[in-house]
Structures are given as C-alpha cells and as structure tokens.
C-alpha cells in the first residue's frame, strides 16, 4: 500500500492510458497552461473564504476558522459505474431502515439468530426510549451518508455507514458551485449530472415525513448546536438553501404537546426538525441532563407523534462499527437479495479466534475503535511505529470488544494538481442519500475526500484531508 505503484488510479491505467471517463477532461487539462491552473486553484481558496465556507477547529484558543483544502481536478465516474453504485446504496439504505424498525419492535433478526442479542442490548447506541416508537412515515434515517472506497475497476467497498447526522453535503454543493464559476467551459464541453437539486430534495424528504398533526405546509427547522460547532457553516447553508429556520435549543420550547419556536410574533409550532445535535444532547429531560443544546421534553412530544425528528433518535445502532460486520447479513435478511455493495472483511475482536488472528497480524491491519469516528483512535498497522503497535496490542487485550480490525485496502487514487503537475492521491467517496416515506433519492456523486499527503490514506479534514468535486457523467 501507499507506494503508489500498484494502487488503482482512476484517471490513468497501468500503462499510462487515460481511462474512458476521464478522456475528455484529460484532453482539456492537457491543453491548459499549468501556471494558469495553479492561479485558478488559489482563486478557489479566496472564493471559499469570501463565501465563509469554513469549519471551526475545536480546542483552538483563537477559535480559528479553517478552510478544507479544495483540489481543482474533479473525480469522475461514468454513469454506468454510478448506476451500479446507486443500486447498491439504495439496497443498503432500505435494509438499514428495515433493520432499525425491526430492532425497535419485534427484533426478528435476533430471533432468527442472524445478529447476536448482546450486540444490541449491550450497545450504547441502542436507544431504549425508541422501543415501540414508530416514526412518522416509517422513516428512521432521512439523511444517510455511505462511505465508499475503491480498489479496482469494479471493486467498491462500503467502509462505513453514517446513519446519525452525516455531514459534508454542503461541500459537495459548494465544490460544484466553485467549479462552475472557475471552469464554465468545462461544463459546456462535458455533460455532468447536476447535484444542485439536493436542498430541494432534502426539503421534500423532510416535508413528506411530517407528523400527522401537521396541517398545511410543514414548518421545517434545522437544529444546530450553535455558531461554535465545527459544522455550523453547513447547518446555516442547508437551512438557507431549504428556506427553513435555523434554530438552537434555546429558541425552542414544548408548548401544548408541540415543539414551538420563539418568533418575533410569539411561539409558533414546528413540524419537522432536521437536527444536527447528537441524540445524547437532544433532550435534557430524557437524555443527558446537563445538555444545554437540546429542548426539554422534545422526546416526549416525539413519542406522542407531535414532531418529526430527522434522523430519528437511536439510529446509531445501525452504523455502529460492531454492527458493520453484520451488514451483509442484514441486507440479505430484509431485502432477500444478495448485497450489491461489498463490505470490507472485518475481524470482530470480541471473538477469540479473530482476536488471535488480529494480534498476530497487527502490522498488516487497520484497527478501529467500535465507537470512534473522524480517524481518531485508530491504528494503521503498515505505517505505525513499533510503539504504537505495542500500545494497541495492550488495548486490544484489555478490551477486545471495543475493537474491530480490517485489512489495509489499496485505496484508489485520483490525481491532484501540485506545483509539479498532476500527482496521484488516495480518495474515498461519501454519496448522500435522502429517504422519504415513498422514495429513496441519491444525489449523483457525493463528496470525494482526498488525502493530500503523498502516500497517506487518511482523508479526514481534521487530519490534512481535502475535497474534490465529484462528477457523474451524463453519458
């Protein structure tokens, strides 16, 4: 891995030939003046700063806002590649919603012995307050992000499901905006499927999931932890684009069995909340009593059918890393079909045989904390120091159930623009899925994250990752 020689590059084949999807783009960039392109690339940064597309860095005393670096070379998928992915994503998301409904009702999958009972009952992501609750329209995860990686021509793997509050969609939209502004001629030459309907589709998905108490046009609000949250830009962006209110916990109050927001004319009821506040902080009366981000009593209104929360509380049980390894089973159980998208082979360290294998092969494996995210609490065996490996060996022995391990995948690369010209860098892909009671809507493409450091496999923005515009050709 990481030597760049044997990794699958999405633009160039092994013999240097340009792959089909990139042909027209390559013709274009080949004829461009590299100095001009670098200048454009600097302009992109100015554009992002002016627009205020920044994220806050936690723990930074100056409360600095940073930009996520943007690379001007798009990542391109053919429509054929995409439609297969889209089918696989839709299948997986259907299964996730069916699984959630089952887990909070009859738990057939446990009775059938496909998923061990303790994996649910001992899991902190399982939310007992959701038992027996049926969300409006039957939708648990209105917004889902499925993280994919690629290792070959038709080799895509799901790395992770994000069924709680996946972020990044604003970057998908703004990256495209930026590309349209910088290289309008590219889009008149190459037909690219549009992503700009996402906010409209999001609004529609939320509106269709309104509770039955809602009469008339549903009132929708985005609930943000506030201006200091790292994703505040995205929260305000989505509210703005949807024409929804952007609210914080202290703007809301439970009145007469409804959740209402404080307006200049008094309190007005809300029908649907797209909440970007974690379950734990949602309701100090029902969950973490110290939370000042939530709304006291909102969970009781929810259980009584007075409000729609998107996503529903307790969806984390479906994207937990310990559950991940059961996803092929889960997909098969609820859809009766063979999973279209592959899982990455996963060793559950809670199982003695697996643990033994993992301990013997630490230097070849990626070890992940079951509840971790953002690339923290993770061991990448092949690049780790002896000390790190020793540290993880201890951690694994102490709490094996907290960890899973996976082989290090040879992630595909896509070139980025550097001062020395095009250079391959590893990428992943997060497509965004919207679920409403009657349809599943997947925006063509998604967010491509790219590890900007040569050879690096870590694409997280908090650790030196950047983003690219993602094109699905309209071919």
């Amino acid at each position: 891995m990481g030597d760049g020689k044997n990794d699958y590059d999405e633009m160039f084949g092994g013999d240097g030939t340009v792959r089909d999807a990139y042909r027209e783009y390559h013709n274009w960039i080949d004829a461009e003046d590299p100095a001009q392109l670098l200048k454009k690339s600097a302009e992109a940064e100015t554009f992002f700063r002016r627009t205020g597309i920044t994220f806050n860095v936690y723990g930074d005393s100056q409360n600095t806002e940073r930009l996520i670096p943007f690379d001007v070379v798009p990542r391109i998928l053919s429509s054929r590649e995409w439609s297969r992915l889209a089918r696989g994503i839709e299948q997986r998301v259907r299964a996730i919603n069916a699984f959630l409904h089952d887990i909070y009702h009859r738990q057939e999958i446990i009775r059938a012995g496909r998923v061990p009972e303790r994996l649910i009952s001992e899991n902190s992501a399982f939310e007992p307050k959701m038992i027996g609750v049926s969300p409006p329209g039957g939708v648990y995860t209105h917004i889902v992000g499925i993280d994919l990686v690629r290792t070959g021509d038709n080799e895509f793997f799901v790395l992770e499901d994000n069924a709680r509050t996946p972020s990044g969609v604003s970057y998908m939209l703004e990256n495209r905006e930026t590309m349209l502004q910088m290289f309008p001629e590219l889009f008149s030459k190459i037909p690219v499927q549009s992503v700009s309907d996402y906010p409209k589709a999001l609004r529609r998905a939320l509106a269709r999931s309104a509770p039955s108490v809602c009469s008339g046009r549903p009132v929708i609000a985005v609930l943000t932890p506030g201006i200091h949250n790292s994703a505040y830009f995205e929260h305000s962006f989505l509210a703005d684009q949807m024409g929804a209110e952007l609210v914080e916990g202290h703007d809301l109050r439970v009145i007469d069995g409804r959740v209402a927001m404080r307006t200049t004319k008094g309190y007005e009821p809300i029908d649907v909340i797209y909440r970007r506040v974690d379950d734990e902080f949602l309701d100090p009366l029902n969950f973490n009593p110290d939370s000042i981000l939530g709304v006291p009593g909102i969970m009781d209104v929810y259980r009584a059918g007075g409000i729609t929360l998107a996503n529903a509380p307790g969806t984390g049980i479906a994207d937990d890393k310990a559950i991940y390894s059961y996803m092929p089973e889960i997909v098969h159980f609820y859809t009766g079909e063979t999973p279209i998208l592959k899982n990455v082979e996963t060793w559950r360290c809670s199982e003695p045989d697996s643990l033994a294998y993992v301990l013997d092969n630490l230097e070849h494996l990626v070890v992940k904390e079951v509840h971790g995210s953002g690339g923290y609490g993770m061991l990448i065996g092949p690049t780790a120091s002896k000390r790190e490996i020793a540290r993880f060996r201890k951690l694994l022995k102490a709490k094996p159930g907290n960890y899973i391990a996976q082989p290090t995948l040879a992630l595909s690369t896509v070139p980025i623009l550097t001062k020395a010209g095009l250079a391959p860098r590893h990428v992943d892909l997060r497509p965004f899925v919207l679920v409403s009671p009657d349809s599943i809507d997947i925006t063509p493409g998604g967010l491509t994250r790219v590890a900007l450091k040569k050879g690096s496999l870590v694409v997280n923005s908090s650790q030196g990752g950047g983003t690219k515009d993602t094109w699905v050709l309209d071919d």
Binding site: R49, R50, T51, G52, I227, Y232, S236, F237, A239, D240, A244, E245, L246, V247, E248, H250, D251, M261, R262, T263, T264, K265, G266
Partner: protein
Amino acid sequence: MLGKSAGGLYWMFRYLERSENLARLLEAGFRIALTRSTAATSEWQSVIATAGVTSGFESRHGEYNAANVVDYMLRDRENTSSVRYVTEQARTNARLVRTALTREVWEATNECWMVLNQALQRPIRERDLPEVLALIKQQSTLVRGTLYGTMLRNDIYNFARLGTFIERADNTARILDVKYYVLLPSLSHIGSSLDNVQWETILRSLSANRSYRWLNGEDINPSGIADFLILDRSMPRSLAHCVQEILSNLNNLSAQYGERKPCHDCVDKIFETLDQRTIDSILASGLHEFLKNFIYGMGELSSQIEQDYRFYS
C-alpha cells in the same frame, strides 16, 4: 421570523454603523491634532469620551495622544468599542442570521471583516491612518449598499434599519453632548478661532461640513449647527432624520404584524420632543438636558424593541 434572528440583525447593523462612526470620529480628531496641535490633547479626550470608554482607555494608556487613541479605538481587542471588536461582532451576528441575509449581504459583511482584520493586523502608522479610516467607512458602506440593493423590504429589513438608525442617533447625540458647551451662545467666545475649530470638528465627525455649507454658505454659527444636526430632517445623521426612520420602520413592523407594541408609544414620545420644535426653544430649555434625555430615551426604546420582538426570551 425567529426572535433571535431579529436581535442578530439589529445588532449586526448597530455594530456596522458603530464601526463607521468610530472612523469618522477619529478622522475629525486627527485633523484637529494636525492643524491645531495645542488643542490635540483635549480633542483626543473628547473622542474617547464620545465613545464612552474613558475609564477603559485610562487603564491602558497614560497619555492622550494620537498613537494611543488610534490604537485603542481601532485595534485593541480589550476595548469592546474598538473597530476591530465591533467588526468581529457584526460578522458573528451575520453568521447567526445567515439564513435571513442574501448572499450579497453576507459576503460583503464577511469581506468587511476579512479586509479590516488584515488592515488592523499591525499598529497603524500615522501616514497610513487616512487610508485605513477611509477603508473602514467604505467597507461598512458596501454592506449597506448590498442591503439596500438586494434585500426584501420586510421585517428583516426593518430590524436591520432599526439597528442602523438607533446606533446613528445615539452617536450623533453623544458627539453633540460631549461638545454641547461650545454650542451654547452665552458661554462661547463668539467667533474665536478655537470655537470655529470645534464647530468644524463637530460637523466633520458627522460628515456634515460639506452639507452644512450647501445649506448655510459660510455662516457657521452654533445655533445653526445645532439646528442642522438636531432638527434638520434632510440631514441623514441628524436626530430628527434618525427618529423619523426609526418611526417608519417600527410602523412598517406594526403594519406587517397587525399589532402595535409598547415600543411604538416609546418612539412616538421621542418623536414629539423633536416635532414642531425650534432650536431656540431647545437651547433655552437646556441643550445638555435635552441630549441627556434623548440618549436615555434611545436606550429605553432599544430595550423595549428587544422585549417586544422577543430577541432573547
């Protein structure tokens, strides 16, 4: 519209207006310091007093001079009235109400913050001061321009304008109050050159010297100035003009919401203190008293609006 958003808009535009007014105030002070070095110290004292930061300034600096005052009023992060601080506040409020703003207004505000942050990074050299002050005024003007050119004329616009005019009225009243004694006919050394300078400074700190001359020619006299800055509705920084604007924005709100609130009575009361008045009657009953009451009234009005439209609770 969320109460919080109304409050955010109101304060965003108060802060933007404040930043611009501070620049004007410094500009006028700087001019006096350059042309009448003997009057400089007391002029810088007035600048600091007008901004209402006398004790804060004196705890940071021993001497009233250009370098200290300029640094304190433009760059000092400890000074919650510095241009740097208020610009930051304006932008924070804009982020808070991002969904109520057009892209143009937001980007102009964000740009204002970026440009001024950059310009105020290092201490300002005297020779760069005019340019920096012009930049501050210009950036604030750009935001106002985008507001004017791109926003719907609805409650969002009304709350933004209320912030602008309440801040402006307060600023004009403070400038007058710090210098009220030079406008009193009985106490002034009529026609002395020092008074001439003081009168001109008042006009300059409100960008009013040119327009005053358009209306009155070269006849600069204290009651003429007081009349112009207090009662002339055609002067966009006069008390009468600001109150007129506040009244009309509040009336728009009551029309849209179909409801009169206590703040409407509040502004009517203030309006009456200016309507049908002559400058002579104001001077006769005491200019300082009048200004003190006006500033107090503005403060009351501001908190009444905050309460009536549920900014915080």
